[in-house]
């Protein structure tokens, strides 16, 4: 933490609201040559040698261990938590209940208020209702198994099909549930060729490697320091303070390393509040790491969906109608809906359009954001329907998409800030060998296997969020970047270091990045793929201001000065940067979204290609190879960006083939509660995946010209696999995941 700015009151700050395009970027003029390069993660050696400290790993004096207790029923009211047996276990200190304070549901990302509290009422199987605290983890776990939760059961809604007819329109929040223009029904009736198909996707879980964990430690001054595994520190602090009934500035979350989040750690989960309540009561710090089964039971799922897609086209393949109507699910009182139609707003041109979302209330655990909320499952439906339409039209799937390329946002009638969907498809077709595809399905049998090729488009809206960062230059000629931004495995540490190094002319090893501390300037956090663009821009702006200060110290203009290898060069002089900063220089950078997000449709694009083989006997599907071609503005680090896309495409394999969180029809309980039975793709399921980026700058997005990439890779990836399965077998499975049993009956002999 720098004291410089704070001693002088308001720090020197460079703020930018994106009201105007920013065609000029220092990143195009830097001479350090680190931006964009495929550099290793700067924290990688710490991680692989076990020195990166994750939430549950902070050594803490006098630490007590907490294990959470669940309600083992689907709906009802707690009469009593019977804990005598648990208390008698040697080492158990206390069994803590606090019905009003414990959170019933985790919170959504970015919310500033406390989540739904009050666990006397149980809304889903596995809701966390108590915590057993002991001197050892083992004693706490033994105690937790002895707690009996006595309840008055109530009827619950546990089966989607039984309640789908009671779907309701959610209140408009950030995303309007319904938009329409023209007359879809009339256009469908008049269309030469139509597709009207319903696709379903199941609940999914993020299954991040690191389970949710917190160490709660109340300080003497009444401040809570919580080491947690969270994606959005500033809003999580606000949520936690609200839940605990303390002032916002009395909670400090530290989340330096996060072992995967994928949305499940956007808002606070039950373990943080339970740990804080227990720590307060005991007067000593308490650690809670959720068990894998508890993460599955009581954090957050991606909603299941039922999506009806209607496409109407003329004989030339030009779309006249697009309708995407989604049923999603959530708990009573929770209005987040899986926005499956989010990409459909602007993916293709058509005069008559309808995007609609409705919610079905179920007593299943909270539904919230999981990687690419909306596109991840919406594109499974839309892009499969486009494949169905292409076949009906006897058109190549790429040609169909090309013919429906809009020249501006078809709903909002604003220009695209940048859009390279067609170039992505064309480049992909060339690299993948698309022309070798047999247009007729089930025409490539090799031994016991049917082979096929499919493609799908990827679209993902780009977002900018308010974000700030401090950058300090030390007399040793080093830069220290500090922000409460998190790195959830994406590469935030590295790209922020690259931006500072490039703009300040420093070798990368002279930049230190400090992330995840709520005491640092608040950032956008990691969510919505906005981290690089938002946090990256704040670092950029702080560095821009520091460059001006260095130029003043050099007695020259910033544009006449070159910063390279730790030296400032101007007017035939070269001076060590450390000699220009006195006792140290500090600057704050702040970025905020502005008119550019309304004046332009900002999104990233891509094209997925997949080759699969389907076993003619068993229906087992194996992905043989995949290619993703993406255009997402400036690529800040070719390696970490590629890794993001590989991860997203692997999510696509899971969504297409293996992942399904199953709810018991009798009580809504998650049935497959571990990594043995919730099937994320394993190495053997993931083939050679190639990722190719198209060169792009988006001057409307932010001053670094980068767009979000963390969620682009998943958008459409699974649809390319589904379309390849159809091409291989002629069987169209519209109920994801496409497991072998769904193919068996239709497989050609």
């Amino acid at each position: 933490m720098s004291l410089i700015g704070t001693l002088l009151g308001r720090e020197e700050t460079r703020s930018l609201t994106m009201d105007q395009p920013r065609p000029h970027s220092l990143l195009d003029q830097g001479t350090q040559g680190v931006i964009g390069r495929p550099l290793d993660r700067i924290e990688g050696p710490l991680k692989v040698s076990g020195q990166a400290t994750y939430a549950a790993e902070y050594p803490t004096d006098n630490l007590a261990y907490g294990v959470l207790v669940r309600a083992p029923f689907g709906s009802g009211t707690i009469r009593d938590v019977v804990a005598d047996a648990a208390r008698s276990v040697p080492g158990v200190i206390d069994v803590v209940t606090d019905y009003p304070t414990f959170i019933r549901n985790p919170q959504q990302g970015g919310e500033m208020k406390a989540p739904t509290q009050g666990v006397e009422k149980v809304d889903y199987h596995g809701e966390i209702v108590a915590i057993v605290v002991a001197d050892t983890f083992e004693a706490a776990r033994e105690g937790a198994a002895l707690v009996h939760v006595d309840a008055q059961p109530a009827n619950g809604a546990y089966v989607f099909a039984a309640h789908r007819d009671q779907a309701e329109t959610p209140p408009p929040d950030q995303i309007p549930p319904t938009t329409s223009q023209g007359d879809v029904d009339a256009a469908m009736a008049a269309a030469a060729v139509t597709v009207d198909a319903t696709y379903t996707t199941p609940s999914q879980t993020s299954a991040a490697m690191e389970p949710h964990a917190s160490i709660a430690h109340w300080q003497d001054d009444g401040t809570l320091v919580l080491h947690g595994s969270y994606q959005m520190v500033a809003s999580d602090q606000s949520q936690l303070a609200g839940a605990l009934g303390v002032a916002k500035d009395k909670v400090r979350i530290i989340s330096r390393y996060v072992g995967g989040g994928f949305g499940s750690k956007l808002g606070i989960a039950p373990e943080s509040v339970a740990a804080a309540v227990a720590a307060k009561k005991l007067g000593r710090p308490v650690k809670v790491a959720m068990a894998r089964q508890q993460v599955f039971d009581a954090t957050v799922r991606r909603s299941n969906t039922e999506q009806r897609i209607r496409l109407g086209a003329g004989p030339d393949g030009r779309l006249t109608a697009i309708a995407h109507e989604t049923l999603a699910t959530n708990l009573p009182g929770e209005d987040f809906f899986e926005p499956a139609g989010i990409g459909t707003h602007f993916a293709y041109a058509a005069d008559n359009r309808l995007v609609d979302h409705k919610l079905v209330r179920l007593n299943w655990l909270l539904a919230g954001s999981m990687r690419a909320p909306g596109e991840a499952v919406g594109m499974l439906a839309l892009e499969a329907a486009m494949d169905e339409l292409a076949e009906k039209l006897n058109l190549d799937p790429i040609e169909l998409r090309r013919r429906n390329e809009p020249d501006q946002d078809p709903e909002k009638q604003v220009p695209f800030s940048s859009r390279q969907l067609v170039p992505c498809m064309e480049k992909g077709a060339e690299l993948f060998g698309w022309s070798d595809r047999h247009a007729a399905p089930a025409s490539d049998r090799r031994g016991e296997w049917w082979h096929g090729i499919g493609m799908a488009a990827a679209v993902r809206s780009n977002m900018l969020q308010k974000s700030s960062a401090r950058v300090e230059l030390t007399p040793e000629g080093r830069a220290i970047v500090a922000t409460d931004m998190t790195d959830i495995g994406t590469g935030s540490y590295t790209i922020l270091a690259q931006i500072a190094a490039e703009t300040l002319g420093l070798p990368l090893d002279r930049v230190e990045v400090q992330l995840g501390d709520g005491a640092a300037p608040p950032s956008a956090g990691s969510g919505g793929s906005w981290g690089a663009g938002s946090a990256g821009s704040s670092v950029y702006l702080a560095c821009e201001l520091l460059r001006e200060k260095l130029a003043r110290a050099m007695d020259t203009a910033p544009e006449s000065m070159t910063l390279k290898d730790g030296r400032a060069i101007a007017d035939n002089r070269a001076v060590e940067i450390g000699e220009l900063v006195g006792d140290g220089l500090s600057a704050l950078g702040e970025i905020a979204p502005g008119k550019q997000e309304k004046s332009f449709n900002q999104a990233s694009y891509g094209a997925h290609f997949a080759e699969v083989k389907v076993n003619a006997v068993t229906g087992e599907v194996r992905v043989e190879r995949m290619l993703g071609v993406f255009a997402a503005g400036r690529i800040l680090n070719q390696k970490t960006a590629r890794s993001q896309c590989l991860g997203g495409m692997t999510f696509g394999i899971g969504a297409a083939l293996t992942e399904e969180l199953v709810h018991d029809p009798r009580n809504g309980k998650v049935v497959n509660r571990d990594l043995g039975e919730y099937h994320v793709p394993v190495n053997a399921d993931v083939p050679q995946i190639d990722v190719h980026f198209l060169d792009e700058r988006d001057i409307h997005a932010n001053p670094i010209h980068a767009k979000g990439i963390g969620e682009l890779g998943i958008s459409g990836a699974g649809a390319a696999i589904a379309n390849a399965i159809y091409n291989a077998t002629g069987v169209r499975v519209r109920d994801y995941p496409i497991t072998c049993d769904k193919l068996l009956e239709g497989l050609p002999g």
Partner: protein, 321 residues
């Protein structure tokens, strides 16, 4: 996890006298203890016993120590050359790391992966006799279609034991008094019936010391496993087959099945249908009919019936090619 005592056995005699649950690789037991599905008072660590060799016998068969890791057994040149079905079954199971730890004896005793068995909040007659079976009427994609009872529809999850069943392995044990038994694998496992908590004929304290494989069988061998992902998933259906041909006809057939029942399944009627027949679609269909005559689905596992038919047919084609 419940507090437990731990003792390390230095000899087989010590181990069987110690009076506790045996632990070797712990790849299954420790997971179950963490979840309090298993709550032993005492663990007896047998991992240091001298039971980790594979030896050839005079009759041409192999004697496999109970502590031989799955990885070593799968990679043994004699196993690869003469008991291919076993090597392939082992490699189809678990993951590399697990196979390094899992032992031959322990793998025979692997417990079911039924979701409801794993969840102490669920009714499960196997875990808590008398508490019901929530798999019936629940989600039962991975459950049994053969030999079930109204008390339990769990499957045995193993791959290795399926191959051993086709190979007519013999399980050698030692009881606390020192008595040794040789139990044919076909007599080792039990169907759930009214006592699904009893999964085999081992008596309390009885330790598996070895597995004997008879002399290598004649004919072709094969192990085929159908699963929901390419690795690290239990069998939906698996087939271990050994078939010998003579004069264009099936001279002998040994067929064992995983994923279908509470134990590695083998049905003499299936083999009887095949022996003496020339390979044909009709003969294979008759074998599948025999296998599945008593099959019963429970909803989400109904697909296993047609899947088993298809896989058996394909395996027979391959074995009689």
């Amino acid at each position: 996890m419940k507090t437990f005592d731990y003792a390390r056995a230095d000899s087989i005699a010590d181990a069987v006298a110690a009076g506790g649950r045996f632990i070797a690789g712990g790849t299954n037991l420790l997971d179950l203890m963490k979840l309090q599905v298993e709550t032993p008072d005492k663990l007896v660590d047998i991992s240091r016993l001298d039971l980790n060799r594979i030896e050839e016998r005079a009759d041409g068969g192999l004697t496999i120590g109970a502590l031989v890791p799955n990885s070593d057994l799968a990679a043994d040149p004699r196993v690869i050359a003469k008991y291919e079905v076993l090597s392939r079954a082992l490699l189809a199971g678990a993951s590399g790391q697990l196979r390094n730890k899992a032992t031959t004896g322990g793998n025979l005793l692997q417990r079911t992966r039924c979701y409801y068995f794993y969840d102490t909040a669920a009714g499960c007659n196997k875990r808590a006799p008398g508490s019901g079976c929530e798999a019936i009427g629940g989600f039962n994609r991975i459950h049994a279609i053969l030999g079930t009872s109204d008390q339990c529809i769990a499957t045995h999850p193993g791959d290795m034991p399926v191959a051993m069943r086709a190979l007519d392995a013999v399980i050698v044990t030692q009881a606390p008094g020192g008595d040794k038994r040789r139990i044919a694998i076909g007599d080792f496992y039990r169907l759930p019936g009214d006592t699904p908590e009893v999964e085999n004929v081992l008596q309390p304290g009885e330790l598996i010391t070895h597995v004997e494989l008879p002399a290598p069988p004649a004919g072709r061998q094969l192990y085929r496993k159908v699963r929901d992902r390419a690795s690290y998933a239990f069998a939906l259906v698996s087939v271990a087959g050994v078939v010998a041909m003579e004069d264009g006809k099936i001279a002998s057939a040994a067929l064992a099945f995983g994923g279908l029942a509470h134990m590695p399944w083998r049905d003499p009627a299936v083999e009887a249908v095949l022996v003496g027949q020339a390979p044909s679609d009709a003969a294979f269909a008759a074998a599948a009919d025999a296998l599945l005559a008593g099959a019963k689905g429970f909803g989400t596992n109904d697909f296993k019936i047609p899947l088993a038919r298809r896989v058996l047919t394909a395996c027979l084609k391959e074995l009689t090619r």
